[in-house]
Symmetry: C2
Subunit: 683 residues, 2 copies
């Protein structure tokens, strides 16, 4: 039976008309081919992840350079499966060869928690006598156990339980009514769930008990709004239309727009992955590579309350749950407005079947205001040109929070990453008059929202006119010479002080707000013909708090990537996940991922080398009542800007809205206005 | 004759149907009434500025609180006029009483340079024998003097000439053709223009001469683009329409939108001024004051090349030229897209007549993506609500640069200030092979663009639930206790470390990127009922470089406001301009404006007091070829966010695009989608 299915799938793969691009995520067919092959050989397992094992970079660069005369990289599935006794298997399946090329049990690790893993915990909590007992203590009678909910989190790491047993911590809530916002009714105890035994093995109970909140529900659903006065009625529609169609072209998963070309990938873990980002440079009359790969590779959300067991609240949302797995199916006219191209995401379920998130990725254009403008004050001769941007986005729900991730391409060669935080605060109960001790804020009566950081790790695999790049740290610095000296008489001298990173240890660096530090990813072998400086892309990132959990503490150990704003490493095909491949229940002794890689090769050459830049950025969130019951989106952003990369503004040939030269002004001519927007009106 | 005109104007004022709002800028009629009154008494003068002398705050707050029973503040014109011998007169004209209530000669100051002041210099340069001689030396023959241009700047300060004579420095350029971009042909010498004598009194000539650039013109006008391959043709239109009209109401200059109310003023100096910003809080069922006044009050653009005379390049674009005077007349469908409400600006000319900038201020709405969203991972019950923003903007041209200023109101109570820099770099010639010494970048052959900062001073006059406010500095800080200690076992404790400013000296503070420092403007007499923290607005600003010119140097002395990120002072009706009322040719000995005010009252109480917060922010600009010949807009932004001001997200009643509750999911119901956008399409 299994073999029949396998043959059938193999047949379908063979019959596919055009083969997938080597960067394409696995199709449903490929996922099921992989699980069928594994099943045939290893029997019944739970599938944790089946995703594209991306081609070796060397193979891929060769293929991209000359696809017609280079062997096409094989389609390989990276499989994580779990057997009885929480045994973890890591394997690779060659889909072209239809065989398992690697299979091993990996001891002492816990792969991420899938949505299916999460779903089961609440059911078990409701029936567990110890949980029922705790609910009783804080005022929830046994017959109301169906009103008890939990957000199961990975346990993170708890030294009492170690890494051997697959565990979750259940953050408990209550809903008087099924539609009530549970985060207004947090419960004070925390059951520990053993995924292997499928039972609650322990409950963390605080010394000071906090009865279930008696305040009215803090809801934001339509009925609640209607009951408190209804929706505002003074918001008139804004329509955004593209009557002649969109300006981007879609070929498979390659998007071409305004000289840009980018392959839009997706995986269960990082969500959107952008590959082979290039720009057609009109001046050089060629396609220039810029980034081999961009992704959000990891994140950590440490909470700042030191009282037990809140230290365990430091979710690695990507490594412990998967930004892809948690991705929303987006809705036209709701999440997305305008002329929208969607791409679905194919994932695997526990049983090994393919599942699909419809409309996982949204691709669309937006007007972006003024691209450039200059008026001559003498005669009002002018050029004004409007900007457009292309946005590739997804939204994922990490239990209470939502993260909206926007990869934005600009006409001037800039790539922007914008992240908006919305959703609901993680909450904990507080008794009337209880002191938050500064670790949190009462955002609603009885509801304590703890301080936390949202720290993201952007992985930049640059390809600035080729794979061999160098990173420079650049600080705005005062020039030498005191005020009054010959060299700096008026004290105004300043310059960009640059530090060249030659090995990973040198590259470990923090943000400096005073010098507005940036990092330049350069190709030192290619100088800009005008500036004689290396062609480069500059990382401009201003939301870069330090990691607040202390050195040597749990978060510091586990989230090694977040200790500093920037790390640069030599490229390695196996280094994608900066907190390690399997994140849950890592102790941080030793730290996995980035610190481990750097410790292994601290003096490796990273100058004029194939490198990866890891950038940790984010915000510190001290909650306030405005964030409740649902948080208005809080934006943060960073830019990757071309500097000395082009010989001029690369968007000069974007048609202006209006242009009039001095001679036209003088001659009373009308000027150029063929691209003036005709839909605009005066009101 | 003069008196006839005066009577006629007085008559018109009397006949006006509705009196202007006390915050309204002077009308054309009011401007001409003021100049007629001055002319009648003081004869022929050149008018430098005639602007609203804003009502005393005490009077105005009384009137706003009860307009029907409070004397309406008089309309008063603030007049700056210049007589023969560069004599400067400062006066006040009561327009209601039709009399001059203050008039004095102010010795030793130079008021700002108007566009008319600028326009004359180029003509004189072209005819000046010494300028003609210098042009000849660098290769421009006498017969080509009509191809020589200059951007006249205030001299800033030059100790050789002092403050007594009204001077400009002429930054020289050449245009082979009248339509050529002159910034590709900078000249190496700098004439000094005496505005009183109307002649060139000196020329600064560098030791090393630089012949006029021989590189081809670097143009961006339509003909140039056509000659180099033409405009791109793959950009399809995006139409933004509001078929049912806009969501804001305009009553005179008061704009009401989404619970916000704001009076939009304008003056020659700051450009847009926002007054009496309030928010209707549905929870408190009342209008709550937030800011009495917001404006960009000053800016300085210090250049970093210490070679003489480049130290003089540090334009105070607002104080030395006027952001209002330099404001562009905006064009529908070009600068502004969508459904646009324009407001004109009335200013005075040199002769004392009113002039009008049509469409000086643009007011419009934009979609702003997701306002908030939350999905329950259990059942995909969801609320997703889209955001709207209201933007009040103007664009001004400061010689080579353009500044696009966007005051943005959000539905969640946030006020955002976004500034985009575009236009053209200030340039200086360089010889082939010349070393920029790190003070600049060759952005085009023969063209050196010097390092510079753009530092803006935001003036925040808060009114957070009343005029008595306190500023706290807030830093994200690690909690006490080493890792392993009882109080901080896992090292994760962190909190918001707050410092209360009680006097101006304490308030002098810099940005700290590591702690992501913010400043909270609080009303300590009103605590949020949930958080028990003072109601506040928080300044979130991340582009805050330090002032790079050195302490004691020219820029440091003249631009005292820019020495630190934040200063807080006691409110004073006369303290609007942080670099002083008359900025050109101030020596900085002593520093005018902010340092002067603080020095005069260093220990004045600013806690629970009527205060003003001055915030300096901006960017450091190391030019690159991408910025030439015209710069793609570079954005910077800051937020004023409500924290502990509301008792919940104040935008909960914005109609969602889609909402479905758990019970609706369970019952298979459709959910709420009445506000789904119907114009969106799949592509
Ligand atoms: Co948060
Ligand atoms: Co600049």
């Amino acid at each position: 039976m299994v073999l029949d299915r396998l043959k059938q799938l193999a047949q379908q793969v063979t019959n596919s008309v055009s083969p997938p691009h080597p960067f394409d995520p696995l199709s449903s067919l490929e996922i099921e081919t992989a699980t069928s092959l594994v099943r045939a050989e290893h029997g019944s397992l739970f599938y944790n992840a089946v995703t594209l094992d991306e081609p070796k970079k060397a193979d891929m660069l060769a293929w991209l350079a000359d696809p017609d005369h280079t062997p096409r990289p094989h389609r390989i599935a990276d499989v994580v499966a779990i057997g009885r006794g929480s045994k973890v298997f890591d394997g690779l399946v060659d889909l072209d060869e239809r065989k398992i090329i690697q299979w091993k049990e990996t001891p002492g690790v816990q792969p991420l928690i899938t949505m299916e893993d999460l779903q089961v915990v609440e059911h078990i909590c409701r029936q567990d006598p110890k949980v029922i007992e705790q609910c009783g203590i804080i005022g929830i009678p046994r017959q109301d156990m169906d009103k008890v909910y939990c957000d199961p989190w990975t346990i993170g790491y708890d030294e009492r339980f170690g890494s051997g047993i697959r565990l979750q911590q259940a953050l408990m809530y209550y809903r008087p009514h099924v539609d009530d916002n549970q985060y207004g009714f947090p419960l004070d105890f925390c059951p520990i769930f053993d995924a292997d035994k499928q039972e609650i093995i322990h409950i963390d109970v605080p010394k000071e008990r906090r009865p279930v909140n008696q305040a009215p529900a803090s809801n934001y659903h339509p009925t609640a709004v209607k009951n408190s006065g209804g929706y505002r009625t003074d918001l008139k529609p804004i329509n955004i239309t593209q009557p002649e169609g969109v300006s981007f072209k879609v070929s498979g998963r390659i998007i071409e727009w305004q000289n840009w070309s980018v392959h839009v990938g997706f995986n269960y873990r990082e969500g959107i992955v952008l590959n082979n980002i290039t720009y057609f440079d009109r001046a050089e009359n060629k396609v220039r590579p810029i980034f081999y790969r961009l992704s959000l590779a990891e994140m950590v959300v440490p909470y700042g309350n030191p009282e037990h067991p809140h230290h365990r609240k430091h979710a690695f949302d990507l490594g412990e749950y998967g930004g892809g797995y948690m991705t929303n199916s987006l809705a036209l006219g709701c999440d997305c407005k305008g002329s929208i191209h969607y791409i679905d995401a194919n994932l695997v379920n526990r049983a090994g079947a393919a599942t699909t998130i419809k409309n996982a990725i949204c691709i669309h254009e937006e007007d972006a205001g003024i691209l450039f403008k200059h008026t001559d004050f003498r005669d009002d001769s002018v050029v004004v040109t409007r900007a457009r941007k292309l946005i590739v986005s997804h939204v994922f729900t990490a239990a209470n929070y939502e993260y909206c991730v926007y990869w934005i391409f600009h006409q001037d060669g800039t790539v922007q990453l914008e992240i908006k935080l919305t959703g609901i605060l993680n909450t904990y109960p507080m008794n009337p008059g209880e002191d938050t001790k500064g670790w949190g804020t009462q955002v609603y009566p009885g509801v304590n929202a703890h301080n936390h950081q949202h720290l993201f790790c952007l992985r930049v695999d640059p390809n600035i006119d080729g794979p061999n790049n160098t990173v420079f740290q650049s600080d705005a610095a005062q020039g030498p010479g005191d005020v009054g000296s010959v060299e700096n008489k008026y004290g105004n001298a300043f310059y960009a002080k640059r530090k060249r990173y030659t090995n990973p240890v040198e590259s470990i660096s923090d943000y400096d707000g005073q010098s507005t530090r940036t990092w330049e990813i350069c190709n030192e072998d290619k100088l800009n013909p005008y500036s004689h400086k290396p062609v480069s892309y500059k990382l401009v990132s201003r939301e870069v708090p330090k990691l607040l959990p202390k050195e040597g503490g749990l978060v510091w150990k586990r989230a090694g990537f977040s200790r500093h704003a920037v790390h640069v490493t030599k490229y390695n095909d196996n280094q994608i996940h900066p907190a390690g491949r399997h994140v849950p229940q890592t102790s941080g002794d030793p730290a996995r991922g980035l610190p481990e890689w750097i410790a292994a090769n601290p003096n490796e050459n990273i100058a004029k080398a194939d490198i990866v830049l890891w950038h940790t950025f984010g915000i510190v969130h001290f909650p306030s009542p405005e964030d409740f019951p649902v948080m208005p989106a809080e934006p943060m952003t960073l830019l990757l800007r071309p500097r000395n990369f082009f010989t001029s503004n690369p968007a000069l040939d974007v048609p202006p809205s209006f242009a009039k030269t001095p001679s036209e002004v003088l001659a009373g001519k009308r000027g150029y206005d063929s691209n003036k927007d005709k839909a605009s009106v005066l009101v």
